[in-house]
Point group: C2
Chain length 321, copies 2
């Protein structure tokens, strides 16, 4: 038994000849190692748990691909759980993942509440947050700086001469895509000495349709904005179509910018100018960080902020006087 274990695990203390015999027997018998028994004995499962809001959302799908690629590279498998940003579902899957003895946990979700922290604390294995953070900053995380990304987006509008800038925001309850991006918008206005006007911001739900709706509202205003900052590409594309459906043009009549850079941003007319968030890398870096933690390597900076980048395409123009 021990010898078989050694050859299967590539332990060098086996004579080449007997190693060969073992391999032959493995082949002949169709033996397949049982990872569950192995996991029980070794206390390692080479699988990590991934809790994700919604795999059918292209942003998270892209992140997930980054996660899986790196996991695969280090010979881990991933157990994927959709939790729809619902707290009690998140807590539930964290617990079942921990029961399954995952070697590590990668968490993407909505707000990280006190209850999340409590669940995390029962874990004997490392946890890293991806595309979220706990405000206390006690857990390793990989994210972008949403506020600055939003600031940069609004700022490129300002640099193009716009001063009547509306925003299609997400819910302010959401700390990352919602509040932080909204706050970046406000700060950019402030830095440029532009007064914040409440009726120039509408709250959407990140999706296309809500972008369409929000834009309809702006189109109905007596004093219309000249540019729109949308918190997500999807809402921005909704806004573009809303404008086009009225016979108006982007960017001639309205400039549009957003943040995300989903694939679709370069599959619309006009091509969408947006602040790119490196989705694949968010996943890849988070997973890489987790592998280090699982190997108990010490990591210099466990809270990484990935850079964003403004991608100038065709939906932003200089304002027409």
């Amino acid at each position: 038994m021990a010898t078989v274990s050694r050859v299967v695990n590539n332990n060098p203390n086996v004579k080449p000849q007997t190693r060969k015999k073992v391999f032959e027997a493995i082949e002949r018998l169709g033996y397949r190692p049982n990872a569950v028994a192995r996991g029980l004995a070794s206390k390692k499962t080479t699988t990590v748990g991934v809790v994700i809001p919604d795999i059918s959302n292209s942003i998270f799908a892209e992140i997930a691909r980054g996660i899986e690629d790196i996991a695969n590279m280090y010979h881990y498998n991933i157990i994927l759980c959709n939790a729809d940003k619902r707290k009690e579902k998140e807590i539930r899957v964290i617990n079942t993942l921990l029961e399954k003895q995952v070697d590590g946990l990668l968490f993407m979700g909505g707000t990280v509440t006190e209850e999340h922290i409590q669940a995390f604390q029962t874990s004997a294995v490392p946890i890293v947050l991806c595309a979220t953070r706990d405000e206390k900053g006690t857990y390793p995380s990989v994210d972008i700086d949403h506020e600055t990304a939003a600031f940069d987006a609004v700022n490129t509008l300002i640099r193009h001469g716009h001063r009547e800038i509306a925003m299609i925001s997400g819910t302010l309850q959401d700390p990352a895509n919602g509040y932080a991006r909204f706050h970046g918008y406000k700060k950019a206005l402030e830095a440029a000495g532009i007064e914040y006007q409440e009726d120039l911001v509408r709250i959407g739900n990140y999706r296309y349709e809500s972008g369409v709706e929000a834009m309809k509202y702006f189109l109905g205003l007596k004093k219309k904005p000249t540019a729109i900052f949308a918190a997500t590409d999807e809402m921005a594309i909704g806004a573009i179509h809303s404008i086009q459906d009225e016979g108006l043009k982007v960017p001639d009549d309205f400039s549009i910018i957003s943040v995300d850079n989903i694939r679709m941003a370069s599959m619309v007319r006009p091509l969408l100018t947006t602040v790119a968030q490196p989705m694949y890398d968010l996943g890849a870096v988070a997973m890489r960080l987790l592998t280090k933690l699982m190997k108990k390597e010490t990591v210099e900076n466990p809270r990484v902020i990935l850079p964003h980048e403004t991608i100038l395409r065709l939906s932003v123009n200089h304002v027409n006087k």
Copy 2:
């Protein structure tokens, strides 16, 4: 130990009072059942393996969501593996999934070759094919009828008076999205007495850019088609933009139809007319089928074909004479 096992597993043979005591001890000790040990003893892991071509592809992401929802409903977890339709990677992940003692396997991939079959045959647990089939028909599967879907698409073009119908196809090596859809196109032409013309079909790679390219080619023809059938929505959208970039209009100058009905199809102008394939349901039904197989329930028809549906939107018009 046995009693604890009984209360944890809801076995009725425990006095309510001792059940209570056990729960208290569990609470007090922070005991969490070890699913690995449980799996070893019970020979069940309540996890299923899912091999998928690419989770960042929105079609598969949508299918995966269907899979996970139903899995979750039946208290299974899923291990997700991207295999990029590459045979040796597919075989490899099948084997590691089987080593991990998954209770069932859900396979989505490219062609199901003889080697796949051999790998499948070493499995002690049920396997269902999703969005693929083995031509022998020996394994349970859930799919749509790609050929008829394509036939229907081309036929709605024909019913709108078109007779010069080009196709942007996928590779003919791919049995489902490629060959079957191409074959449906040919059959529809044939049924309408339209001669098949080789220079009216271009091979793409399913992606947006290849749709753009293919359309450029058609635009350069002396005798241009009046309508285009694209094998996928993405290529169709590429074609639309290719047309619009030349200052031409859809559907006035060209009618466009495709098959898939990805979310993006209703996020472009004009809204894309397409034959919808029920992606979420493909995953959900496949997983439901797998749960039945895992429970050793007998299933009436293990090879299910889900219906497709032509969704008339705005990219198809009657031909201009």
